[in-house]
């Protein structure tokens, strides 16, 4: 299965690289409302994933849900600043590294530092931002394949 995930990641990364989703200028074109490209990509991806997931759920797939909490908005807003500053969301950081874009190195270092900082402060943020409890298993057993 590891090979499958590696191959899926490579196909995903190739598409991000060649479509402009991992291109600084294309990302700024999206935010500056000058370039339709990324709206088209996200729109088509959502429009096709939606019926696909519906069909998989009909076939017995159970999908875990992410609970709603104020951190969705606060964290989303912070990420918006980060994406606009660096021109890369988390996936494209790795694509940019593969493409040889050295400016992705400080971005990755920052992203790991930010994640580490989140880990350090989560217990203090959990109350005010009503973050979900971590006592539940990360992957609910009902979402995994049924044993034959």
């Amino acid at each position: 299965m590891t090979t499958l995930y590696l191959v899926l990641g490579a196909i995903f990364g190739f598409a991000l690289s060649r479509s402009g989703a991992a291109d600084f200028g294309t990302v700024q074109g999206m935010f500056l409302l000058q370039d339709f490209q990324l709206y088209g990509i996200i729109g088509v991806a959502v429009a096709l994933t939606m019926p696909g997931l519906w069909w998989l759920k009909r076939g017995g797939h159970v999908l875990a849900s992410k609970p709603s909490h104020p951190g969705n908005l606060v964290g989303g807003a912070l990420f918006g600043i980060g994406w606009a500053m660096t021109g890369m969301c988390p996936g494209p950081i790795f694509v940019n590294l593969g493409e040889g874009k050295l400016y992705a190195i400080p971005v990755l270092a920052g992203a790991l530092f930010g994640t580490w900082l989140y880990g350090r402060t989560r217990s203090r943020l959990a109350g005010p931002l009503q973050l979900p409890s971590m006592s539940e298993p990360a992957v609910p057993s009902e979402t995994l394949p049924r044993q034959a």
């Binding site: 499958l4 995930y5 590696l6 191959v7 990641g9 196909i11 995903f12 990364g13 190739f14 598409a15 690289s17 060649r18 479509s19 700024q28 490209q37 990324l38 088209g40 088509v44 991806a45 959502v46 096709l48 994933t49 696909g52 997931l53 998989l56 849900s65 992410k66 909490h69 969705n72 908005l73 606060v74 964290g75 989303g76 807003a77 912070l78 990420f79 918006g80 994406w83 606009a84 500053m85 660096t86 969301c89 988390p90 790795f94 694509v95 593969g98 400016y103 400080p106 971005v107 270092a109 920052g110 992203a111 790991l112 930010g114 994640t115 989140y118 880990g119 971590m134 990360a138 979402t143």
Partner: protein, 166 residues
């Protein structure tokens, strides 16, 4: 035009369909929900025993870390198949608008990365987990996060590239 070898970008419909295809195969065969920013926690879990990261580390090692390695390979293949692979430091339009010194540019990118890392984990998802997977399920947490990062990114870029540097 893309920065790499000045390629014309792939059509948005083909790219969107490819992303949807990978998302659905990942779910259909692997029973894994697309979401890449948890991979940042998985990388932290390699060096830290913080229970926040340990919580999802087993799942991360099973699929996200190989998937992230695939993203790097996809980037290498994309450049190598278009011409020569080369290291790039110049980044447009940032360089010509901001006119940063080398340390200022590194600091800018590091701070932006920090906002991204902290923000995506607080939001419990990024463009993939919320923007594509969650939006496809009309999940309220994903709709909120996606609206937040799209709106704030739009305001921030317009502020910098049109007002401050423009």
């Amino acid at each position: 035009m893309l920065q790499i070898h000045h390629l014309e970008p792939m059509h948005w419909a083909i790219a969107g369909a490819t992303i949807a295809g990978v998302t659905l195969v990942l779910q259909a065969i692997g029973r894994r929900s697309l979401g890449l920013s948890s991979g940042l926690e998985d990388l932290c879990s390699l060096a830290s025993d913080n229970p926040v990261f340990a919580h999802t580390a087993a799942e991360g090692r099973a699929w996200r870390l190989p998937f992230l390695a695939g993203l790097v390979l996809g980037g290498v293949a994309s450049v190598a198949l278009a011409g020569e692979w080369q290291a790039l430091w110049r980044v447009e339009p940032l360089d010509s608008f901001a006119n940063f010194s080398m340390p200022a540019k590194v600091t800018w990118l590091f701070i932006g990365g920090t906002c991204t890392g902290f923000g995506v984990r607080l939001a419990c998802g990024c463009t993939s987990g919320h923007g594509i997977f969650g939006m496809s399920r009309l999940q309220p947490s994903s709709i909120k996060s996606t609206l937040a990062f799209m709106a704030v990114g739009t305001v921030f870029s317009n502020l910098m590239y049109r007002a401050v540097w423009g």
